[in-house]
Symmetry: C2
Subunit: 144 residues, 2 copies
Amino acid sequence: MQLSTRTRYGLQAMVELAASEGILSLAALAQGQGISSAYLEQLFRALKQAGLLRSVRGAGGGYMLARSAGEITALQIVQVLEGNSAVSECVSGAGEPCERACVCAARPLFLELQAKINAVLDGTTLQDLANQYNDQTTRFQNVR
Amino acid sequence: MQLSTRTRYGLQAMVELAASEGILSLAALAQGQGISSAYLEQLFRALKQAGLLRSVRGAGGGYMLARSAGEITALQIVQVLEGNSAVSECVSGAGEPCERACVCAARPLFLELQAKINAVLDGTTLQDLANQYNDQTTRFQNVR
DNA sequence: TCAAAACCCTACCTGTTCAGTAGGGTTTAT
DNA sequence: ATAAACCCTACTGAACAGGTAGGGTTTTGA
């Protein structure tokens, strides 16, 4: 039931991009999160192919959001990075339900669960997260 | 993000027990779901240790719910069968948040997600699922 | 009584996935 | 032209999911 680290790292890096409102290099982002840039690169490649990121090559280059932060939802990011985002195969939109669907005792529960999860993810944009992130960081710095 | 088959099978079997309102043998339940009784047994042992099931040994024995179906929630079952029921370590009630919690961009999202998931699971009892199951089965039989 | 049904328990196995590394390419600013 | 930075493929090691195997012990019912 856990989200993968791919998703966690990817989300965090996307929020940093949203908060910085500009271009950031892979190396800078990776260092900020304490992971290797090679690993973060894999995640960013997937996000780029999905149309959520744009990249600028060459010295001084880096990554930036392909759209405004308010137009990118957590759901979009999760769907790209999480291999299997459905709670159970039988409720993944694409595939057909399992052959026992019409007698599956748990399916109504799974459907409800999936709906709520998607609602939360789809209702949260990078802008929302970036705002919270800024508040949090500010408070944190004040405390120090 | 998927639930394990342990959880799915366990839930389904528990609902069957709730719907039958009596004692059922492991063999009968396993056959009903098309899995081996040895596998289902593992799940049931865990559920028994957690106080959700009672067993009767010997010929003619089997398993039954330890409490009424209305008093057993999906959350209880999931927590027993799903090794790691939290969306992310940093929001699992027991452990402390990760060392980056106060600067984690994604934590507010994870907290909200976890809360909604738990609300759905905790708000669903075996009785609810058994009712839906009976309705469904009845309709299905009528169609045939 | 005694055999079979049924629960009880511990190991083990096997394939997949996660998490991450390695290492070489190509583009571009300076 | 050189170094920064993105681009891409392949591989690896550990953990876990999803079972199987095989031997107990308890109890019923003929």
